[in-house]
């Protein structure tokens, strides 16, 4: 973004995320590796107390998590210091923003099965040491059990018909009690013949069977068509009587 001095940076209500206000507003995260873009995204440098700080623009058309944030979810649970298991990391473009949010104190375990995007993921993780790349099938979490500790949040964007089961398998091994999952559901990938709303409801039902308590659900219009993000809590504590 040119004319850096005219841009004002404001913190978003979610810790670790910011908003840049210039001619138009953009969602941004603080770049962990100043001077470099990960996938050609725009960068904004501002002076804060005479120290230069660099931010990277987070595009909601390219990242479902950014779309959910702009869509107005109550909480994404991914925050500075959090440990996140990211299923379906692809080439690590969204992962890099999650890494910016959790910061040095946090960790992102990024799982991707396809080799070509996996290669880009590994290269991104070389620069961001809070990202642990795992090239393995998320359906078989036991294969990578040696690499992961307990996590606070599972983010899943795997676009598979058995997505809820995949999240469940990983949660039983790695998700803390009362931890959260944030799942992006693409209706077409699960059942292309049913109405999207029916597909979302069915997936929420499946999550309930995996000990998740659904907290909120939003569609990703206008950024994605027939997508929903569902946020749920794992093994939620029963209310005190």
């Amino acid at each position: 973004m040119k004319g850096g001095k005219k841009v004002i940076i404001e913190p978003h209500r979610f810790a670790g995320i910011f908003i840049a206000r210039g001619n138009d507003a953009a969602l941004i995260t603080k770049n962990m590796v100043p001077g470099e873009a990960v996938y050609g995204e725009k960068r904004i440098t501002v002076e804060e107390n005479e120290v230069k700080v660099e931010y990277r623009v987070w595009n909601p058309f390219r990242s479902k998590l950014a779309a959910a944030v702009l869509g107005g979810v109550d909480n994404i649970w991914i925050k500075p210091g959090a440990k996140v298991l990211y299923l379906g990391a692809a080439s690590g473009t969204s992962v890099s923003h999650v890494a910016d949010i959790v910061g040095d104190e946090g960790t992102v375990y990024a799982v991707e099965f396809s080799h070509r995007p996996g290669r880009d993921l590994i290269n991104m993780a070389k620069k961001r040491t809070n990202v642990i790349p795992i090239i393995e099938d998320a359906r078989h979490p036991l294969k990578y059990r040696m690499l992961i500790g307990m996590v606070d949040v599972i983010f899943a964007d795997v676009a598979q018909p058995d997505q809820a089961r995949i999240v469940g398998l990983n949660a039983h091994l790695f998700l803390k009690n009362e931890g959260h999952c944030v799942i992006s559901i693409k209706a077409n990938c699960i059942d292309s013949t049913a109405a999207p709303e029916a597909v979302f409801a069915k997936e929420v039902k499946k999550l309930k069977d995996e000990h998740f308590k659904p907290l909120e659900q939003i569609t990703l219009e206008p950024y994605e068509r027939d997508h929903a993000v569902v946020i749920a809590q794992y093994r939620a504590a029963k209310k005190a009587k």
């Binding site: 090239i135 294969k143 992961i148």
Partner: protein, 176 residues
């Protein structure tokens, strides 16, 4: 059936053998049991580290994770289990009164076949291993904060690089 007295926990830093002190069968989904598993003070009273075998090098760790993820046993693991549980096995098969809890039934089968140590992989074991995973850094003495993550980071890169068929030094240009 033999009682689960020990647990095998595989980490990026090395193998840990955990001993269960309490022997009562806990109802794993009960609130009380879950509280015991999540609170370190209470968890350390029912489980403690009996032995820990750190990996000697990055290559050593990679060789081990490659086999473990396929459900195979490495020489290190066999030696580790035999030297720590071997005595209890000497009385012959009928006298073995304990079982080893493992995360993966595949590795359980391999261990049982080649060492004779009976292995169990059930809900109780999975819940106990969740506890071990949560408190691992505190259970193992001499492991400092962040050491476990460093080991995971190094091993994650090594494991992933070995899996990717493409040259990791080349990157695709993103089209925007």
């Amino acid at each position: 059936m033999a009682e689960v007295r020990y647990l095998l926990f595989e980490s990026a830093s090395g193998y840990a053998l955990v001993e269960r002190k309490g022997s009562e069968e806990i109802g794993v989904q009960s609130e009380e049991a879950q509280r015991t598993l999540t609170d370190f003070g209470r968890f350390s009273q029912i489980c403690s580290i009996k032995a820990f075998l750190p990996f000697t090098s990055a290559e050593n760790a990679l060789a081990n994770i490659n086999d473990i993820s396929e459900g195979l046993m490495t020489d290190e693991l066999r030696e580790f289990l035999e030297s720590n549980l071997g005595k209890a096995l000497k009385g012959g098969k009928e006298k073995v009164k304990f079982a080893l809890g493992v995360a993966d039934s595949k590795i359980g089968g391999t261990v049982q076949e080649s060492t004779g140590i009976p292995c169990v992989c059930n809900d109780l074991v999975q819940e106990l291993l969740r506890g071990v995973r949560a408190h691992f850094a505190k259970l193992v003495k001499g492991l400092r904060d962040g050491d476990a993550e460093k080991a995971q980071l190094g091993l994650g890169h090594a494991y992933s690089r070995s899996k990717v068929k493409f040259d990791v030094n080349r990157t695709d240009k993103h089209i925007i």
